[in-house]
Amino acid sequence: MKWLRQYRAAFIAGSLVLLLVVIRLSGWNHFKKTAGDLQNETANQANIISLNNNQKKLPVIDVRSKEAYSAGHPDGAINILMNNLLSRENRKFLNNNKSGIILFSDDYALLSRAWSLLSQMGYKNIFIAGAAIESDEVLKYKFRPDSTVKPE
């Protein structure tokens, strides 16, 4: 191993850098997509699907509470609590359903957050559904300015 001894300094330095790279790579870059992707994918409500229009028969995950789920849920939906969204079993479930899944809830705030999280992690074809989610961002009121207001 004359060769190794000769280049020892370079070899040690090289492996040190490599080690640092490995350390940096682990525990980092959990997210595959960018904020820009999120903005594009939500721009035309492309991430929203209607349960009546589920032609590919994608599995539906109800992310509401157990009580809400037992009181009534979409046909065939399974219940996975928000808290367990990233559990080992659920990640396996997501990996086994590459053609996509639909997240369902009536809490559109949590639903948007759950969708963004999974989508940013690189899971493909994640959709969201809710009774009136298509019109969630439609303003249902009209502002009428008061013409009697005078600037101070």
């Binding site: 000769q6 280049y7 300094a9 370079a10 330095a13 090289g14 850098v17 490599l18 790279v21 525990g27 980092w28 870059n29 959990h30 997210f31 595959k32 997509k33 960018t34 904020a35 820009g36 999120l38 903005q39 939500t42 721009a43 928000m82 808290n83 969204l85 990233l86 809490d107 559109y108 705030a109 949590l110 639903l111 948007s112 957050r113 759950a114 963004s116 999280l117 940013q120 992690m121 989610i133 969630d136 961002e137 439609v138 303003l139 249902k140 009121y141 502002f143 300015p145 008061d146 013409s147 207001v149 600037p151």
Partner: protein
Amino acid sequence: MITREKFSLLLLVIGLIMAFLPFPRRDTFTVKPVFLLRESQNEGSFFSVDEVAGFVIREDSAVQLIDVRSPGEFKNFNIPGSVNIPLSQIADKEWGGYLGRENVKNIFYSNGDTQSNYAWIIATGLGYKNSSVMMGGLNDWFRIIMNSKFSGETISPKENRLFETRTRAKNLFISINSLPDSLKTKFMEAKKIASKKLDGGCE
């Protein structure tokens, strides 16, 4: 082996590693997924329209309302004291000064509950702390604050306080948004300049 040779070999190795390193793109989330999931369920990241109305009438300087709708919608009307950062621009570095201020709570709002929460997750994912949303958005603001009426004969002190907050927020909203466009813009710009000064000229 002379030192120079060793040194150049070392540089070569580092260079090769750098070349193949998958550097993350600029606006990839930096926090851990588990952290983001936990924060997503944090009750503290939600404010009701009544709480926001309270901040507005007190002109609370520890709170910054952020309207994520389009500039056109914002110009038409907005909650007094808010700034406009459209959802499509939240990830832009130039807003870092605003989003990253310490001791200031940023409250995102849109018409409903989806866009404001996309903005929230981008801000939180990129590592900005103190982000929250106004639950129910402007639809709830109109339903609860702008349409507040008292009916009945007796009113409890608690109900009275709530009703007063709503009425004052409603009157402020109407009077500022009824100003002619030119004055409204001036008012908003004055606010922006004021907050920049507070910031210590973070440009």
